[in-house]
């Protein structure tokens, strides 16, 4: 049996019956239950072999088996109250086969020899049934078996082992400090994920992996009831591929930024950020409304990450380029003919964008993807030119390559794996440059921090982004806070307006914890690294309205 439920976020009003929600997979259990060990590797290998033999004897030419235990612990609080603590576990097996040149997939929570044999049989039957309407057989890139191997997110402190009370104490401290510093309301959340995944394939791979992810976040609201006005400021944390050590708030991982702002690298000080957020939400109430026009934008990594995600990450997904997502997420402007010219100027010369699933502390990093491919790093945009895409084993042949990029992922054992985004990051500038020096060179600009409203068309040309904090720059200096800011641009024009990138000392990652794709929809988590970057002459609109 499968369970996929949704936690509704607080304050959604009628949204309780609607879509905006956080997916929860599996059964709700106690926190202690999450610490119980997974089934041992020898058992999982035995079960996997049953599946591999069963599908082979029924005519499958390729099989992979994923035995997965997916654990989630989500904490929700507002002001001085704990709203919800969700401990969820989902355990089962997904079997994917190629028979008659066609994919088939089936999944079951019955992880027994009988359950697996039956599931394997169904997977082959589905492949054979679908093969009748399939015109072109699947071409799978070769992947040598890697034998029996294991991989684990290099964490220092397993967040699931930290007592729930300690986590609540932290969130309560975050809330009380925000309230003390002028917040009218505050919600804070902690999202923890642990995937215990065993993968086996007919190529001879038996891969045992344990993946950890963490996302602390909050929203502070300042309210002026008399004026009927409110402003919010969200956390500038990033979801990470780390353990609870991310919340240590190490001074060595902080980056001083202009106007007393702080950037966080691989360690986050949630209380400090909440205090700043409360003060800044109040400041936003009286900030000057922006004058629409062209500005040079200085984009902080905690903001730029989402722009990279939407305008580079999604358009370079090969399945979108080919039309597989046409009915939902859309297609892509970064078509194969543009790539084939080897001269398509995606961005200016300093734009180097890399895909990777190996960078420490990031959400996309694993040892092997969900079709057993060892993970690696490769260029998507080199010196401004589009040079590659993100592909899976059944797609790379289209690019003339014979090894997968390792971009296959399923959000649960009962979901079929498909192409998902690796980390997609902008390489830092080669020359020494701090954000302070960058701002000094700007005559008329806006410095933008944090993730705000975002929207982009289905081929990823036209986008509009907001943010959390906007500071006006005049003649090399920050002169005050702005409100009602959003910028609009065209992807190619925007990346070609990239003028300067700060050096590696400023480099940080941004992350998306619940990135949705596919029908039925699946989530995935992905990071985007960058240093603060300058874009010249971008169109800024004023989003203020009077009703």
């Amino acid at each position: 049996m499968n369970r996929r439920d949704f936690i509704q976020l607080s304050g959604m009003g009628l949204g309780a019956m609607m879509g905006s929600s956080i997916p929860v997979l599996g059964n709700i259990v106690t926190a202690d239950h999450l610490l119980e060990p997974a089934a041992d590797v020898a058992f999982k290998k035995r079960m996997a072999d049953i599946a591999l033999n069963a599908t082979k004897s029924r005519g499958a030419t390729y099989t992979d088996v994923r035995i997965g235990r997916y654990l989630q612990q989500y904490l929700f609080t507002r002001e001085n109250k704990v709203q919800n603590i969700v401990n969820a576990e989902s355990y089962g097996v997904g079997i994917r086969v190629i028979a008659n040149g066609t994919w088939g997939f089936s999944a079951t929570s019955d992880v027994t020899p009988e359950g697996i044999a039956k599931c394997a049989e169904t997977a082959v039957a589905i492949a054979k049934a679908n093969s009748k309407i399939q015109k072109e057989p699947v071409i799978l890139a070769p992947q040598k078996g890697v034998g029996e191997v294991s991989w684990k997110t290099p964490i220092q402190k397993n967040a699931f082992e930290v007592p729930v009370q300690e986590k609540i104490d932290l969130l309560m401290k975050v809330n009380s400090e925000a309230m003390k510093n002028g917040a009218g309301f505050v919600t804070s959340n902690l999202f923890l994920v642990n995937e215990q995944k065993y993968f086996a394939s007919s190529d001879g791979s038996y891969i045992d992996q344990e993946v950890h992810r963490i996302w602390p976040t909050f929203t502070v609201t300042a309210v002026d009831k008399a004026a009927g006005k409110f402003k919010t400021r969200d956390a500038i944390s990033s979801p990470m591929g780390m353990g609870y050590e991310y919340l240590d708030g190490l001074a060595s991982e902080k980056i001083a930024a202009p106007n007393g702002l702080v950037g966080y690298r691989n360690s986050y000080d949630m209380v400090e950020d909440a205090i700043m957020a409360a003060k800044q939400a109040k400041e936003k109430m009286t900030a000057k409304s922006v004058m629409a026009g062209k500005y040079d934008l200085i984009l902080d990594p905690n903001h730029l990450g989402l722009t990279i995600h939407e305008s580079v990450g999604h358009p370079t997904e090969l399945d979108r380029v080919l039309g597989y997502e046409a009915n939902y997420a859309g297609t892509s402007f970064a078509t194969l003919d543009k790539w084939k010219t080897k001269a398509f100027n995606y961005g200016s010369k300093q734009v180097n964008i890399v895909a990777d699933k190996t960078q420490p502390h990031t959400l996309g990093t694993v040892g092997y993807d969900d079709e057993g491919v060892p993970c690696k790093e490769w260029d998507l945009i080199k010196d401004g030119i589009l040079v590659n895409y993100q592909a899976t084993r059944d797609q790379v042949n289209i690019l003339g390559e014979n090894a997968s990029h390792g971009c296959c992922y399923a959000d649960n054992w009962n979901s079929v794996q498909f192409q998902r985004m690796p980390n997609v990051s902008l390489r830092p500038g080669k020359e020494k440059l701090s954000v302070f020096d960058m701002i000094k060179g700007v005559e008329k600009g806006i410095y933008i921090i944090g993730r705000g409203s975002y929207s982009i068309d289905q081929q990823r040309y036209n986008f509009q982004f907001g943010g959390q904090l906007f500071y006006e720059i005049k003649n090399g200096e920050i002169v005050g806070m702005l409100d009602d800011v959003a910028y609009q641009s065209n992807t190619q024009e925007f990346w070609n307006s990239c003028a300067q990138i700060c050096d590696k000392d400023d480099y940080r990652t941004f992350g998306s914890f619940f990135d949705g794709k596919g029908q039925p929809s699946q989530v995935s988590a992905v990071s985007h690294g960058s240093s603060t970057t300058r874009f010249n002459g971008v169109n800024v609109i004023n989003t203020g309205r009077k009703i």
């Binding site: 009003g13 309780a16 509009q464 039925p520 989003t543």
Partner: protein, 445 residues
């Protein structure tokens, strides 16, 4: 045991669960559903699958300490285990000051959203429905990508104070994007029904094909304010942002569009054109819904906005108690009253305007004004002197549905639509709006 239980089977199971309870109060929610889907792209079936969910959720309370545990196995040992686990979680939980205790027995009207036709959809009928669509797109050398998903399910609840509720429903959603081979034209259609017999995939495919071919050779218009005719599929993704916000608590707290200076709310105020009425009704023949909400409160016909005036905001049981008013549950469906105009009449009466058939990637820009941004997609057309003149390139818009409903010109007949943002079904009419704000052009097709 079958995944979809009858009312009496559900009742027996729930009674058994409650017998294990040692808590002060206990509430049990039970649900089961079977979903089947088929997905296609590039004129080929890409994936297909079936999913079975069944779930039992137990909420135990000791005073104001509340714990919830869930399970998907219904043997006696599992049932007892889940009750004990919820009690354990409740004992460990901090007091929830917002816990208001359980409701006693309630009377519900009988609504029906279950159709045997939909419940008996098989992989074969699903494939057949899709093959009708594929045949048409292949013949016309157009490229189709679509998704068909059907669902049958039930939900039930019972609590230690004697409340019992049961509802069975079916649903089918079909969506399709048809693109021209050269990628210069694209059309879309989405249909949602409780009764699959109403779904005609061939007819729906013809609509998407017509829009696809009709949108070839789009010309660029200057961004700016235009009169627009929004087809229901386009209108609904903006309107649902009003529905989402109609909560009394956030309005009272001063942090919603429905808040007003001086700490008041817009309850009782006229906020949009007087031809605008939104209501919910579990008995609606085209959009049936459960007659009870998640906390057990009865759902009856409820006006939310009537003749432009805010009539009700939802009050959770906790917030209603705080404010000393009657609780009003969030609705299980939403219907906007329509007018009499046909789409053709709306076009005919337009001197200069734009027909928008779909909007995409809607995001809130400013919750204070409900300002939304997004883009037109899959068929946008220029109207001049009462006629569709030519297809136009897509626009980005920045507009508030509140401003939009104040600029209402005409309303058409209400029909059932699927939101491409939330996947929810609603009843919404096509509408003609003046001075809709398009802020930039997009090259996307």
């Amino acid at each position: 045991m079958s995944v979809i239980l009858t009312e009496s089977e559900a009742k027996t199971l729930l009674e058994k669960v409650l017998k294990y309870s040692k808590a002060d109060e206990c509430e049990v929610n039970l649900s089961g559903e079977i979903r089947g889907n088929i997905r296609y792209a590039r004129n080929e079936v890409s994936t297909s699958g079936a999913l079975t969910n069944q779930n039992l959720s137990v909420q135990s309370a000791f005073g104001k300490k509340v714990g919830v545990a869930t399970i998907d196995e219904f043997d006696d040992a599992s049932l007892e285990k889940v009750v004990r686990r919820s009690e354990e979680l409740a004992q460990l939980a901090p007091e929830n000051p917002e816990y208001v205790g359980l409701l006693g027995p309630q009377t519900y009207i009988k609504s029906n959203g279950y159709f045997d036709s939909t419940a008996s959809v098989s992989p074969d009928t699903r494939a057949e429905a899709v093959s009708k669509s594929l045949k048409l797109s292949r013949e016309q050398k157009l490229v189709a990508a679509g998704f068909l998903e059907d669902q049958k399910g039930y939900s039930a609840m019972m609590n230690s104070k004697g409340l019992f509720a049961f509802y069975k429903s079916t649903n089918v959603n079909f969506s399709l994007t048809v693109r021209t081979e050269d990628g210069t034209g694209s059309g879309y259609v989405a249909k949602g029904y409780s009764d699959v017999n109403k779904l005609d995939t061939a007819a729906a495919t013809k609509i998407a094909m017509q829009k696809s071919l009709g949108s070839k050779g789009a010309r660029a218009l200057e961004p700016g304010k235009y009169t627009v005719i929004l087809e229901p599929t386009a209108a609904v993704v903006l309107l649902e942002n009003i529905y989402y916000d109609m909560d009394a608590r956030s309005a009272d707290e001063g942090r919603s569009f429905f808040s007003k200076p001086g700490g008041k709310t817009k309850l009782g105020e006229k906020i949009v054109d007087e031809r605008v009425t939104f209501f919910s009704d579990p008995m609606h023949p085209e959009l049936p819904a459960a007659s009870w909400s998640g906390d057990g409160l009865p759902q009856e016909k409820m006006m939310w906005i009537e003749k432009g005036v805010v009539k009700n905001l939802s009050y959770s049981r906790y917030w209603a108690k705080e404010k000393g008013v009657k609780p009003i549950p969030s609705p299980n469906n939403m219907i906007m009253t329509g007018g009499t105009a046909t789409l053709e009449e709306m076009i005919k009466s337009t001197q200069r305007g734009i027909l928008v058939t779909k909007l995409w990637y809607i995001r809130s820009v400013d919750p204070q004004t409900l300002l939304q941004t997004g883009l037109t997609r899959d068929g946008t057309f220029y109207i001049e002197d009462g006629k569709i003149k030519y297809p136009i390139k897509n626009f980005r818009f920045n507009e508030s549905p509140i401003i939009m409903l104040n600029n209402l010109e005409m309303l058409g007949k209400t029909e059932r639509v699927v939101s491409t943002e939330s996947n929810q079904n609603y009843m919404v009419p096509p509408m003609k709006i003046r001075e809709f704000t398009f802020s930039s052009l997009s090259d996307a097709v």
